[in-house]
């Protein structure tokens, strides 16, 4: 049992875990008969005999994995290798803020008040994969930012898989609590270092108190043998601002379940995504914004560029409760298919029970604008570069809200690389 080694039997988490296990046993893995899983099949993954706990710890040299960190700047780092914490690669802190480990937060009495209030509270007990994580997770990031604090630098949460096992399943669990007027920036990455199969089923709970500001950046650029199911749950209070950027550039199968719950007024929730896929990659963005109180806003802007045999899904659900008057909810999903064999399924799902709201949604699927292509070519820019420039321009406005310049540059370069050209200027 996952937490058994760390948590004594009387700890509340023990009961939570047993309950989660029961829920998972009842529901099992989601299948394509479920509306929410219509376009994403886990069948092939279920056939793999994954090991849940690696037998031995594999040490990594920083120089070998440096490129996966935002090394252009100083950051806090919480790093896991095959699911096990690497103190050697990490840089944690307890200096005014807690940026450390889930396992220690669950065992040390000083964290108990926070765990009692927040652990597994916003995470759904109905989602079978979330309950699977709750049952089996043994490690992850624990971040607690007290009132009026802001860490000196962004936090990177990085998971490496070394291929120690023929096939490995990881269940990271993150808990992030940002108190009143506090601020936090996080970059999360899952990176496999071999061609062995990896399946990560990650759960992140984020609590943003009144006036808190949280920027969360998910960089998904993993190998063709890596799959990720990301389950992120965000609970926001009055006037908090939470922005989640998802950069989906790779991996075999990626499912992003991103859930926002607005438990207060004047809240701003922003979801932005850039997806650039090729080969037989699959990404499924499932967003949910639940407007529970009046006077809140949500913004969604997802751009996708799909090549070769790649497939994409965007499903954006917005619920506006009857009392949530003066809600502003915007949703936009634009896609470009650059191959005849690529597909995208895009679906807005609006459930609006209030009458004084502004909701807009739009989705487009298209090819590159021929007139724009001709314009660039007529200036001497070859077709291939012109296409890349246009795709770059297409994805660009999503990057405007990235508040870490070093990360923005990195993502810009990643986009250029994904599009297969070096543009004639520094990005």
């Amino acid at each position: 049992m996952a937490f058994e080694s760390n948590v004594d039997i009387d700890h509340p988490v023990h009961d939570v875990r047993v309950e989660a296990m029961k829920n998972f046993e009842m529901k099992g893995f989601p299948n394509k008969k479920l509306e929410a899983w219509k376009y994403t099949s886990l069948n092939s993954l279920q056939k793999v005999d994954f090991s849940i706990f690696p037998k031995e710890v594999n040490a990594l040299e920083y120089k070998d994995v440096k490129k996966y960190f935002l090394h252009e700047m100083d950051t806090y780092k919480i790093v896991f290798v095959d699911g096990i914490y690497s103190s050697f690669l990490s840089e944690t802190t307890h200096d005014g803020v807690d940026i450390c480990l889930m396992s220690s937060a669950l065992t040390k009495p000083m964290y108990k008040p926070v765990i009692d209030v927040y652990f597994n509270k916003v995470a759904s007990n109905d989602e079978s994969l979330t309950t699977l994580n709750t049952a089996f997770s043994r490690e992850g990031a624990y971040i607690y930012i007290p009132k009026n604090k802001m860490p000196k630098k962004p936090v990177e949460i990085v998971h490496f898989a070394t291929g120690n096992e023929a096939s490995l399943m990881l269940q990271p669990r993150n808990l992030i609590v940002v108190e009143e007027n506090a601020e936090l920036q996080i970059i999360e990455r899952h990176q496999s270092l071999t061609s062995n199969e990896v399946l990560t089923n990650c759960v992140t709970e984020i609590y943003a108190a009144t006036n808190a500001i949280v920027d969360y950046y998910k960089v998904q650029n993993d190998t063709a043998s890596s799959s990720l199911i990301d389950n992120t749950y965000i609970n926001q209070k009055n006037k908090s601002v939470v922005k989640v950027h998802t950069f989906a550039f790779g991996g075999k199968l990626t499912r992003n379940n991103l859930n926002f719950y607005q438990n207060g007024e004047y809240i701003d929730s922003t979801m932005k995504g850039v997806t650039i896929l090729g080969e037989k990659q699959h990404v499924d963005h499932h967003t949910l914004v639940h407007h529970i109180e009046p006077n809140c806003e949500s913004h969604q802007d997802y751009k996708g560029i799909y090549g070769e045999n790649s497939t994409g899904v965007f499903n954006g659900k917005i619920i506006v409760d009857k009392v949530a008057q003066k809600t502003n909810a915007f949703q936009q999903n634009n896609n470009i298919l650059i191959s005849d064999k690529a597909t995208i399924n895009t679906k807005p799902q609006l459930e609006i029970f209030a009458d004084d709201v502004k909701c807009s949604h739009g989705c487009t699927i298209g090819q590159l604008d021929e007139e724009a292509l001709f314009y660039l070519q007529s200036r001497g820019i070859p077709k291939k570069e012109a296409r890349a420039l246009l795709m770059y321009a297409f994805a660009n406005n999503v990057l405007e809200s990235v508040r870490i310049p070093e990360l923005k540059t990195r993502i810009n370069k990643l986009i250029a690389k994904k599009l297969g050209v070096s543009l004639g200027f520094d990005l």
Binding site: F374, S378, R379, G380, P382, L389, A393, N396, L399, G424
Partner: protein, 250 residues
Amino acid sequence: MLKIDNLHAGVEGNEILNGINLEVKAGEVHAIMGPNGSGKSTLAAVIAGKEEFEVTEGTVVLNGEDLEESAPEERAHKGIFLSFQYPVEIPGVTVTNFMKTAINESRKAKGLEDMPANQMLKLIREKSELLDINRKFLSRSLNEGFSGGEKKRNEIFQMAMLEPKLAILDETDSGLDIDALRIVANGVNKLKSKDNAVIIITHYQRLLEYIVPDYVHVLHEGKIVKSGSKELAFELEEKGYDWIKNEAVV
């Protein structure tokens, strides 16, 4: 410089250009006028190599070289420039970066190294002064949120940067107020030399008061039905296009 011989072109079987003959020599300015739908913009796009149009007959020859097989970018490298009637907006790419890309791609095609940064900046400064363009404008995203006048001025700025042999100005005067028109015309006049040539495509005679053409051609139903000196433009302004149409029928 440019020799167009019996050019027929169209889209999906619909013929738009119906046997165009035109010769433009270095140092000359030609105006092509004509009513809406006469094929003016199509002619400009076909010379620049737009793939949407299919050339069914005839040739476009630039400095002795048949352009039939040339892609738009290759034509640009050979010295053709088209100022667009509706320039396209490219968010996230600044005017400066766009020009750097365009110039260095042209140089690459000619086997040259990238232009050194300081030289590029100097060139940008010179040419932007020529068109009365201020610095801030250069770091804005290409054409995004530009006014009609700004877009056209930016087109001529690009022309100044790329120094084409043959510039085609497609309705560059449309959407310009009189001050912008003067700046744009001034820019074109300063760039003109005995070694390059300009084709002005316009519906009205207005721009021709500032950029004086050596020849005026009237296009009607995909054919040049009348050619003359600059006085022809005044005549058209006065009488409209109907008398030309009637003459063409006769």
